[in-house]
């Protein structure tokens, strides 16, 4: 019998370091470093994630065949050098920082791997996979398609910012690219910064803000900032951007164009920011759709695989889906740099080793619901609870779900910890905070008392797959919460039009009851949908089923199990701390249930508000 091949993939040193391991084309494990280190978007070498992956594979480090890094540091250095040469004398600070970063750290992956696990695998050297081919591989190889167009759009990776590729069997061929400094991701990030949110994490907030505004700046953006061709290719007018010669995305000319300085973080969000968000969101969607049309044209494929940070823009994904350019779309749930670790594994397996693909059965993908992280046994959980004298009760599965359904129906909020942790930025029912979507107060309660985050941000519905079209204008799988679709007309409610159009403050707009599921209905009657499947997460599926049996509603609010600025919880300890620091009422650790009021007095041992820098 042939020996199995193990490949370890690593992404690090930008944002969201991660590790992944595959065995003979099958994903064994994948996790972001932030979940272990408790540093949000941790860019450091993913020591903990690597060790976890090796443990999960149940192998010794010496059993690893190849170690692959998801980015080529010298290609990146080439880009920096040419950027600096174009700018001239003023680029010294950029060159100094980039040289220390690339020649001092990013070049030495091999050394860091050896320091961590004592070997670089049987291959004897670290293999460097290209950034965008890693993205493309992360979406094509786990997808259900034998052949597909592949589009990757991000800020920048080495030189590329947008690529179109074609995947057939075990091969991927890059066909077209757009290169730095022209970048749809950096354009979106420029507006993220301008609207007072953090670049590389606040893009999601800008997307959430967009439906509150009117896209009145769209022409302004097209006339001044970007020239877009019919095939979706584009070029930015760099006179308006700061990133060629500073560490800022925008410059004074950009600020003047939009009538003043950027919004200060945490200050009041005005109508201007709402309108700007709506405008850049529309421009992004229009370009994204044009790129997809061109990908269809040059590949002839009816399937599309998406990755890169821009593929996390689930509003744009929903619009793309409804355009019906492709028959099928599959999006890598860890579409950002973390997913590059998984993509790098596949590059080694299918392009370097030329391993044949084995397609999943039926329409299922090979991502296993993205439940690829650590899980904890009953023994481990019980030992943790007993060691700390926490008060708990163990339940059988059915009894537990009946109890939770009743509590959620009463308005209680539950921290739900079950099975393997998710890989990627979304909580999908393994590390989730859940509540009743019918409850009109749920959105503000969860935002302000649980998550401590901005009140405008919407929550996502987790719905039984078979019931999705009862509530939403969608009748397909969306297991990774990456598609936004409208709430069905039949469950919508009339809002007060005067408030809707004239309020300068967001709060009265947010507080309007828009549907029978107000907690998950965004201001434009959209929802970011997760379809829940028995095959990939039976525990979460059964809980929603129990809620449906009790209430007739087969939807729960699902948000990530963390507070603002904190990485999503990984261990029972992380979950307990988050439970006690917030207004979560009930904690579920697998089959163990803990009620807040029964717990011993909680003594805070660290200043966690300071520890978790606001994102």
């Amino acid at each position: 019998m042939a020996q199995s091949r193990y490949i370890l993939g690593i992404s690090a040193y930008y944002h969201d370091s991660a590790a992944a391991i595959i065995k003979d084309s099958e994903i064994i494990a994948a996790a972001q470093e932030e979940r272990f280190s408790r540093v949000k978007h941790d860019p450091r070498f993913p020591v903990n994630a690597i060790n976890y992956c090796i443990e999960e594979a149940f192998i010794e480090a010496s059993d690893i065949d190849a170690v692959v890094f998801y980015d080529h540091p010298i290609l990146t250095y080439d880009r920096i050098i040419k950027n600096c040469a174009t700018v001239g004398e003023h680029s010294y600070d950029t060159f100094n920082a980039a040289t220390k970063s690339i020649l001092g750290i990013k070049l030495w992956v091999e050394k860091h791997v050896k320091q961590t696990i004592g070997t670089v695998g049987k291959l004897g050297k670290v293999l460097f996979a290209g950034h965008h081919i890693s993205h493309a591989a992360s979406s094509f190889y786990p997808s259900p398609y034998n052949e597909s167009a592949i589009v990757s759009v991000d800020g920048v990776g080495e030189w590329s910012t947008t690529t179109i590729a074609h995947g057939v069997d075990n091969n991927i061929k890059l066909l077209k690219e757009i290169n730095y400094p022209n970048s749809l991701g950096l354009l979106y990030s420029a507006f993220t910064f301008y609207c007072g949110f953090k670049v590389n994490s606040g893009e999601y907030k800008l997307m959430g803000l967009a439906p509150y505004g009117k896209p009145i700046y769209v022409k302004h953006i097209y006339d001044n900032l970007i020239d877009v061709k019919e095939d979706g290719s584009y070029r930015l007018d760099m006179d308006y951007f700061g990133y060629l010669d500073t560490n800022k995305t925008t410059n004074q000319k950009f600020h003047d164009l939009f009538g003043g300085a950027p919004r200060q973080p945490e200050s009041v969000i005005s109508r201007k920011e709402m309108d700007i968000a709506a405008s850049i969101q529309q421009v992004t969607e229009e370009i994204f759709i044009k790129i997809a049309r061109h990908a269809r044209k040059i590949t002839g494929s009816s399937n599309l695989c998406l990755s890169g940070g821009v593929a996390l823009n689930c509003v744009a994904n929903g619009k793309l889906l409804r355009e019906k350019i492709f028959d099928n779309i599959w999006i890598q749930p860890a579409a950002g740099d973390a997913g590059g670790a998984l993509g790098a594994c596949y590059v080694a397996n299918h392009l370097y080793y030329k391993e044949k693909r084995s397609l999943p059965n039926g329409k299922n993908d090979k991502q296993h619901g993205s439940y690829l992280g650590p899980k904890y046994s009953d023994t481990e959980i019980e030992a943790f609870l007993d060691r700390n004298n926490y008060v708990y009760k163990k339940y059988a599965e059915t009894e537990k779900n009946e109890l939770l359904a009743k509590e959620i129906d009463k308005g209680k909020i539950v921290g739900f910890f079950a099975g393997r942790m998710e890989f990627g930025p979304r909580s999908l029912g393994a590390r989730s905070i859940i509540g009743d979507p019918r409850n009109a107060e749920m959105q503000s309660k969860m935002n302000l008392k649980i998550k401590y985050r901005e009140s405008f941000r919407p929550f996502a519905p987790a719905v039984l797959r078979e019931d999705v079209n009862k509530y939403f204008d969608l009748d397909q799988d969306s297991p990774y919460m990456l598609i936004v679709a409208p709430v069905n007309e039949t469950i919508r409610k009339q809002v007060d039009i005067v408030t809707e159009h004239n309020a300068d403050d967001m709060i009265p707009i947010i507080n309007q009851i828009r549907s029978e599921l107000p907690a998950i209905t965004h201001v434009d009657y959209s929802a970011r949908i997760q379809t829940v499947h028995k095959e990939t997460n039976e525990k979460f599926y059964n809980l929603i089923k129990a809620f449906k049996q009790l209430t007739g509603c087969s939807v729960l609010v699902n948000t990530s199990f963390n507070v603002r600025g904190e990485p999503i919880v990984c261990s029972p300890k992380d979950a307990y701390l988050c439970f006690m620091r917030t207004d979560i009422d009930i904690l579920v650790l697998e089959n163990y249930i803990l009620f807040k009021e029964e717990q011993p007095k909680f003594e805070e041992k660290e200043n966690w508000q300071q520890k978790y820098e606001l994102d």
């Binding site: 010298i74 040469a85 010294y92 950029t94 060159f95 001092g104 750290i105 996979a129 061709k229």
Partner: protein, 111 residues
């Protein structure tokens, strides 16, 4: 002279020898042209774009790697100081701490 000063002096020297020497031309695609149909480019650097190894076994071998890399890319103007770059990389390597509690600004950058 301490290591930090040595490193900074070397970076300045490379900046003057490579960056400023090549600063008379534009190396980026930043010209907007309304008269063309597409801005898409054909993928370049095929091997490095897919997968490759980087030879960092010694100062000499890394310098050879950089030399070959820029020759293949048709960027001969950037090879004049590959020996200095390689020496600098090995110096920086001994000076870096990638796992400190305070995440280095040089790690978490857009570079």
């Amino acid at each position: 002279m301490n290591l930090t000063n040595t490193i900074d002096l070397k970076i300045r020297k490379i900046f003057e020898g490579v960056i400023l020497t090549n600063s008379h031309e534009n190396h980026l695609n930043i010209i907007i042209n309304k008269n063309i149909d597409t801005y898409y480019e054909e993928p370049q650097n095929i091997q490095q774009t897919y997968f490759s190894f980087i030879n960092t076994d010694s100062v000499e071998s890394f310098a050879d790697y950089l030399n070959e890399f820029w020759m293949e890319k048709g960027s001969e103007g950037f090879i004049s100081m590959v020996d200095e770059m390689s020496e600098l990389a090995f110096l920086l390597s001994s000076d870096s701490d990638t796992q400190s509690e305070d995440v280095s600004q040089f790690i978490y950058t857009m570079y």
